[in-house]
Symmetry: C2
Subunit: 285 residues, 2 copies
C-alpha cells in the first residue's frame, strides 16, 4: 500500500541518519554497519511501531527513534546470527552477509555497534523494556535455544517458547512502544500486545514454511537450512499442511484482536495492521 511505502521511506531516511555516527567511528566500521542496516528489508518492526503510534492520531515522527532502535536491534541480531559460529549464512536480503562482505571481526563489531546504538537512539524511559526484549531471557535466549534445538527435547511447547523469545518479544515491543509513545490506554496497549503475539507466531510459522517451500532468489537468503541443521520447526512437528493450517488460524486470531480497537475504522494505520498479517498468508500460498 501507499501508506506502507511512505512509512518505509521515512524509516530508511531515519536509519540513514542514525548510522552516520561521529568522527570517532572508523570508516570500515561505519561502512559495515550501513551495509547491513541500509540493505533492502521489509522494515517490519519499525513499520509496526509507526503504525501503532499512528493508530491513536499521534504524530508518528515521535515514534521514529524507537522505530529505528527496534530495527537496529533486529539488524544486529541478524549479523551475529549469520556468523560462521552461529547459523553460518552467506546470503541475507539478497546480498552477501556482513562477515562475507567484510570479515568476521568487523561483523562482530558492527553487530555490537548496532546493539549499542539502539540504546543511544532510544528515549531512556524505554531502555529497560528494550533491554529486556533483546536480552538473555528473550531474543538472545531464544537464539541460544534455537541453535541448540536439534539437541533439545522436541515438542510444540518448546518450539513456541523459542520463538516467543527469539522473534515474538521484539515484535510485541515494537508495537507497544508505538502505542506507548502515542499515549494509548492500557486496554489498547494490551490489544497491541496480543496482536503482536499472534503476529509473531504467524510470522514464524510462515518463515518456517518458506524455508521448505520458498524460492531462494525471492527470499534473498539460503533456504532448506533448517532440516539440514536438524532444527525444530513447525513443518517438522506439524507437517506442511498442519503448519499451513496453524498459520491460517493464527492469522485469523491476530485479525480478531484488532476488532477490539475502538479507533476510527478504515484509518491507514489500522488497515496496515490487517494487511501485514494477511501478507504472511500470501507468502506461503
Amino acid at each position: 500500500t501507499g501508506y506502507f511505502h511512505t512509512l518505509r521511506c521515512e524509516i530508511e531516511t531515519a536509519l540513514d541518519a542514525a548510522s552516520q555516527f561521529g568522527t570517532g567511528c572508523p570508516e570500515r566500521l561505519r561502512e559495515a554497519v550501513r551495509y547491513s542496516l541500509l540493505a533492502p528489508g521489509k522494515r517490519l518492526r519499525p513499520v509496526l511501531t509507526l503504525a501503532a503510534c499512528g493508530l491513536f492520531d499521534a504524530d508518528r515522527s515521535n515514534a521514529m527513534p524507537a522505530a529505528c532502535a527496534v530495527e537496529m536491534i533486529h539488524c544486529y541480531s541478524l549479523i551475529h546470527d549469520d556468523l560462521p559460529a552461529m547459523d553460518n549464512d552467506d546470503l541475507r536480503r539478497g546480498i552477501p552477509t556482513c562477515h562475507k562482505k567484510f570479515d568476521e571481526a568487523t561483523a562482530i563489531l558492527a553487530g555490537d555497534a548496532l546493539l549499542t546504538g539502539a540504546f543511544e537512539m532510544l528515549d531512556g524511559r524505554f531502555c529497560k523494556e528494550l533491554a529486556a526484549a533483546a536480552g538473555a531471557c528473550n531474543l538472545i535466549g531464544g537464539q541460544m535455544d534455537d541453535i541448540y534445538s536439534h539437541k533439545q527435547k522436541t515438542g510444540i511447547g518448546f518450539l513456541e517458547h523459542i520463538h516467543q523469545r527469539k522473534t515474538g518479544a521484539l515484535i510485541r515491543l515494537a508495537l507497544k512502544l508505538g502505542g506507548h509513545i502515542a499515549g494509548a490506554s492500557d486496554i489498547h496497549l494490551d490489544i497491541l500486545d496480543r496482536y503482536g503475539q499472534y503476529f509473531g507466531l504467524a510470522f514464524q510459522i510462515t518463515d518456517d514454511l518458506l524455508d521448505v517451500l520458498g524460492d531462494e532468489s525471492a527470499a534473498g537468503k539460503r533456504l532448506r537450512k533448517d532440516a539440514a541443521a536438524g532444527k525444530l520447526t513447525y513443518p517438522r512437528l506439524l507437517g506442511i499442511d498442519g503448519a499451513k493450517k496453524a498459520a491460517a488460524q493464527t492469522i485469523a486470531d491476530a485479525e480478531k484482536t484488532l476488532d477490539g480497537l475502538d479507533v476510527r475504522r478504515q484509518t491507514q494505520p489500522l488497515r496496515l495492521l490487517y494487511d501485514l498479517v494477511h501478507q504472511l498468508a500470501d507468502r506461503i500460498y
Copy 2:
C-alpha cells in the same frame, strides 16, 4: 586497602545478583555469562564508580547499578575481543576464555547478553551516555582501530586516539556516573573526568609495558602478543624507558587533578583514587 576490598566484595555480590537472569534464560547462556562476569577481576571500573560516588558523602549503594552496568560492558568487550576472529586469546583472568570453555556461538551470545543486560541494569537517565561511551565512536571504534592498527598510520597521536576510545571513554564514564549519582557539581565532575583521562592513559601505557615486561602467571593472560600481532603500542613508539617515563608523568598528572577536589582530605574514597593510580606504577617496576 580494606576499603578497596570492601567495595570489591559489594560489587561481586551485586554482579552475582545481576547475572541470575529470569526463567527465559537458557542454562548454558547463564553459565557462560556468569563464568566470565564472576571470574576474579580487579573490578577497576565499578570501584571507580563507587569511589567517585563516595567522595561526595552519598550512599554508594545508589551507584551500584551503574557500577554493575559498567563492569558488564567491560566484561562483554573482553569476551568479544578474545574471540578467534578478533584477538584470539585462550586465557583471561587466569582461566580459559569464554569461547574456549564453552564455544564461539555461546561466547558471542554471552557477550551480547552482558551488553544488553547493562542497559537493563542502568537507570534510563544514563543510557545514552553509556551507549555513547560503549559505542561505535568510542569503545567499539577503538577496538576496531586497534585490531587494524598494524595496517594504520603509526604515531603517538593515533595510538592515543585508539585508547581514548577503547579504554578511556568507559573509565571516564565510570567515574562521572558515580559523581553524577552523588549529585556532584559540574566543577567536581570535570575534575573526575580529567582524572579519568589521565588514569585511562596511565592504565594503557602500563598495560602495554606489562605485555612486554610482565609475568604471564601473574597477569592471568597470554603476554608478548602485541609485538607478534604488529600492534601499535607505547613501548614500540617510545621504547621501554620512554614508555615508563610517560607512565610516571601521566600518573603524576592524574594525582594532581585530585588536588582540585575540595572534599575532606583523607577520606577513604579519595585515598583510593590516589592509591589506584599509584598501583599502576607498581605494576611496571
